[in-house]
Symmetry: C2
Subunit: 112 residues, 2 copies
DNA sequence: GGGTTAGTGAAGCACAAACTTCACTAACCC
DNA sequence: GGGTTAGTGAAGTTTGTGCTTCACTAACCC
């Protein structure tokens, strides 16, 4: 997991939050966590058109949560670990940043 | 960081993604990472009304990303670490789940 | 070739949600 | 008390975006 400063900047996770902020895209994501699937396979249980699903995949790909490749006339979609790695690193960093600031503040307030 | 199964279920992080899926709420969140602030202080740089900002705070509070309390006539808003903890645990779990499934799949494909 | 199936691009619709205004409460200050 | 300031609730407006339809391409199959 190679993560530089750029990878951890707020703007780097924007796309992830936008992507998973939608319930349909969350469903697609969790469905792909089970197994790789085509656009058609993903669309069926959600009751939406292939076009609509294709649009969601593009958003998920932009966030690096999903990757896809054409195999024949099908598009095979799968989880891209990059997004999850970035999300985890982001949460970790923010939490530790908050913690250190909170501890510093506490030290001032509770000065002897 | 106490995290049970409930805390890690997809539905537990829905609110977090919905909350941070909006750019204004991301701004509020990062602004609060710097320091505790009132509704007025948060609204000023964003150029939105106090009413509008109050609505965003409610969404962030529902996701446990922000906590607030009334101090006099002001509402002091601050980061709630619970949301970040949950987000980190979620990303960690999903990534490890994906990794184990991916490794299992690879073992089948690359069978000797 | 002809028919079917999977997916894509452009363009439009429709609803959810971000934001506002207005009216009000309550805390602060003189 | 009277004036100002911070925030809140209800109700309306407007904009973004999720989704569709339609037309098309390309792969598969006979």
């Amino acid at each position: 997991m190679a993560l530089d400063v750029q990878t951890l900047s707020p703007s780097a996770v924007e796309g992830i939050f936008v992507a998973l902020g939608d319930s349909t895209r969350r469903s697609i994501f969790f469905s792909l966590m089970e197994r790789e699937q085509s656009i058609k396979e993903l669309a069926a249980p959600l009751g939406i058109t292939l076009t609509g699903l294709g649009q969601h995949i593009r958003v998920l790909e932009a966030a690096q949560l999903v990757s896809s490749r054409k195999v024949g006339r099908e598009r095979r979609c799968a989880i891209d670990p990059a997004g999850l790695e970035r999300l985890e690193a982001f949460a970790q960093l923010q939490r530790s940043l908050w913690r250190s600031r909170f501890d510093a503040l506490r030290r001032i307030v509770e000065a002897p």
